[in-house]
Amino acid sequence: MSQAPHGTSADATFQSIMDALATCYGSLAEPNFRKVYVTMGSPLHRDLIAGLRRKGVDILETTDENDDVSNQLVATLSGDQVGLGLSGVGPFAAVVHQGEDGRYSWVTQPDKAPTPLAALVAAAVKQSGFKLLDRNMVMRTIKMNRADGTTEATLYQALFTDSDRVP
């Protein structure tokens, strides 16, 4: 299991995620997913999505609650696209942009976003109170008993979707 270094902002973020996981799932030894779906349908998520649409952003929802513990969205504007995951565990988000070279970049600060759309989405997500996570953070592993019998998960799996393919 990965350990976060002490005394860093990453450490604080990691701790806040662990707190949210415990609050949402109850226990990582015997997690209960019922709260996740309530949060995914909450006004916090719906208002953010509606707000992006009001700004002219086309939003495609690809969420399936069989595997997703986040609202999974594709935002499109003027030919540019951004992937957005809004966790149902707590106020954590993944904003991912695929560049012209095909590579993915995780947007953690609106002012450092690679495109205007990525900046717009990142700013809206941040203003709604979500923490924008980076790839290094979500690749950390934790102990978590899962329905398929495995006992470890990445934060990406615990926060967003049950997949080991992370963009």
Partner: protein, 338 residues
């Protein structure tokens, strides 16, 4: 080699160069018989740029330098090796699109043209068709399209399908069903007599083009999620292995399914047994369309009930997930049927 030099070289490769030693370069009708797939792919890649309008050519050049070229070469190599696949399999495996998609049709035609090219003119024509596809996709979207195509080309199931299609035909089957229609075989023989091996090769190429690019598309497009499964692939493909634990989470009566329900995970469940769920999952992976923005996920609508949503209502779509080890699992998904 700079882009300018490369462009000049590939112009010359097509017989349109302006170098001082032009006389040594192949002319438009020069034979390219015996050129390797790698040579043909390079000619196609650079020739496509050369066929674009000047403004787009500069942008495409920049894209090549920023990583698109190696991905395009990887994807194109697969396209040229996949010309024996039927049209539906070519479209779904290499592009995640249907047979009626104009971009796929252009690229299919280009791949066939390049694979069967016998002259510089043939290769130039194929490159021009790729340029048409670039413009249809949009120059800004082209790198993403190429990145997705390269990822699909790396898919072990796609590679298996291509290799299978390239194996020599079974003589026992050929005795029953000729590879080419009889009239085409006569045409090939006649061309061989009249014009030598190159003409015969061109005739075969034309026959393949007719076989895989009929005037009207046939079968159910892979992207059409409203129609029931009707398309069958003529290529037998070894399906990816099933991720047993995850798959059983969506089969009633299994321990994994009980675990999911106990944990409160919303769980769609297949109607049938594990074996039936496996078959549906593998068929959905074979025929499904990629879910936008989601890596390694495909949806396929069977057009009939295949399982139940968490609330018990009927579902007809199977969503399939592939993990980083290539294993897949699926579950009923999507809108609930009335």
């Amino acid at each position: 080699m700079s882009w300018e030099d490369q462009g000049r070289q590939y112009h010359m490769w097509f017989g349109h160069g302006t170098a001082a030693d032009k006389g040594k370069q192949p002319g438009p009708g020069s034979s390219v018989v015996g050129k390797s797939t790698a040579d043909r792919v390079l000619a196609l890649a650079y020739g496509a740029i050369a066929s674009l309008p000047a403004a787009q050519r500069r942008q495409a050049e920049a894209q090549y330098h920023s990583g698109t070229l190696p991905r395009l070469k990887e994807a194109m190599t697969a396209w040229l090796r996949a010309t024996a696949l039927d049209q539906a399999t070519f479209a779904s495996r290499l592009f995640g699109r249907g047979t009626d998609d104009p971009v796929v049709r252009s690229l299919h035609r280009a791949a066939l043209g390049a694979a069967t090219a016998t002259s510089q003119d043939d290769l130039r024509d194929a490159a021009g068709t790729v340029a048409e596809a670039i413009q249809a996709v949009g120059i800004n979207q082209w790198p993403r399209f190429v990145a997705d195509a390269a990822e699909r080309a790396r898919d072990p199931a796609t590679q298996a399908a291509i290799e299978k299609s390239r194996q020599p035909p079974d003589p026992a089957l050929d005795a029953i069903r000729p590879v080419y229609p009889v009239e085409t075989a006569i045409g090939v023989a006649a061309a061989g007599i009249a014009g030598g091996a190159a003409a015969a090769a061109r005739a075969v190429g034309g026959a393949i083009l007719k076989q895989v690019l009929p005037e009207k598309p046939t079968g159910t497009p892979a992207t059409d999620r409203t129609k029931p499964s009707a398309t069958t692939s003529s290529t037998v493909v070894e399906a990816p292995p099933i991720s047993r634990q995850k798959q059983d989470g969506h089969v009633a009566g299994t321990a994994q399914n009980r675990n999911r329900v106990r944990q409160g995970t919303k769980t769609s469940t297949f109607d049938g047994s594990s074996a039936e769920a496996d078959a549906l999952t593998q068929e959905a992976w074979e025929k499904g369309s990629p879910v936008p923005g989601r890596s390694g996920i495909r949806d396929y609508d069977f057009g009939r009930r295949i399982g139940a949503a968490p609330n018990g209502k009927s579902q007809s779509i199977v969503r399939v997930h592939q993990d980083s080890a290539g294993r897949i699992h699926g579950h009923p998904s999507g809108r609930e049927l009335p």
